[in-house]
């Protein structure tokens, strides 16, 4: 009887740990998204800004964003290592629902990116767009669209 109680208590602990790790993963993704956006958007802004004071501020915000993004990437690597050590947690945290959301979010990001490419192409017919600026926008849109769509689909 005491063995059964021990097993049930162990299962309860495992379930709580899965729930906590799922929330942790979501927080890491949100942090990474905020960091990436804070890092890249000011850099994009600098294509149009020639004021040195504003440029200085935007560079500072961008640098902070870069550190935030790096911090959350390190946490993501630590998270992956933890899952490799605790294999019993990896399965549930990568179940069919998560896999379905992942595919859905990549699909959504693809269409968003395609819409962005079409928009930029049409814009280029009227305005002279620099190649570097265009590619920069596409990188930002590609990364953020995938993350944002995943977070939206993952919400209960």
């Amino acid at each position: 009887m005491s063995n059964i109680c021990y097993i049930i208590e162990g299962a309860k602990h495992l379930v709580s740990e899965i729930e906590q790790l799922d929330m942790k993963r979501r927080k890491i993704m949100i942090g990474s998204l905020i960091g990436f956006t804070a890092w890249q958007l000011p850099l994009l802004f600098q294509y149009f800004n020639f004021n040195p004071i504003v440029s200085g501020w935007s560079s500072m915000i961008s640098a902070i964003g870069c550190f935030v993004w790096l911090y959350y990437n390190v946490r993501l690597v630590q998270f992956s290592r933890l899952l490799r050590k605790k294999r019993e947690l990896a399965g549930p945290l990568n179940d069919e629902y998560i896999q379905a959301i992942r595919i859905k979010s990549f699909t959504a990001a693809f269409w968003v990116l395609l819409a962005c490419i079409v928009t930029l192409f049409v814009l280029s017919l009227f305005v002279d767009l620099k190649a570097q600026f265009t590619l920069h926008i596409l990188i930002i849109v590609g990364v953020t669209a995938a993350l944002v769509s995943y977070l939206i689909f993952d919400k209960e």
């Binding site: 299962a11 309860k12 495992l14 379930v15 709580s16 899965i18 729930e19 799922d22 399965g91 549930p92 945290l93 179940d95 069919e96 629902y97 998560i98 379905a100 993952d154 209960e156």
Partner: protein
């Protein structure tokens, strides 16, 4: 005219019968609580494998757990 089939489930009822929380059920079938919640609310249709696992936990046939309505 094509009618859209609706898949309903009795997971909540079965859970209440067996006094199981979503978390406990999730642990039994190897998914997260969120997955069980989305299946219960009809937002996600589980695979055949997961549906059978769920039915086994409750000791009922799959057709009793998931009902296809025309």
């Amino acid at each position: 005219m094509m009618n859209e089939d609706v898949l309903e489930n009795t997971i909540k009822v079965q859970r209440a019968r067996m006094n199981l929380t979503q978390e406990q059920l999730a642990e039994w079938v190897g998914v997260t609580r969120k997955t069980i919640n989305t299946i219960e609310n009809g937002k996600f249709i589980p695979s055949t494998k997961l549906a059978i696992k769920l039915a086994r936990v409750f000791g009922v046939p799959v057709e009793e757990l998931f009902i296809l309505k025309d």
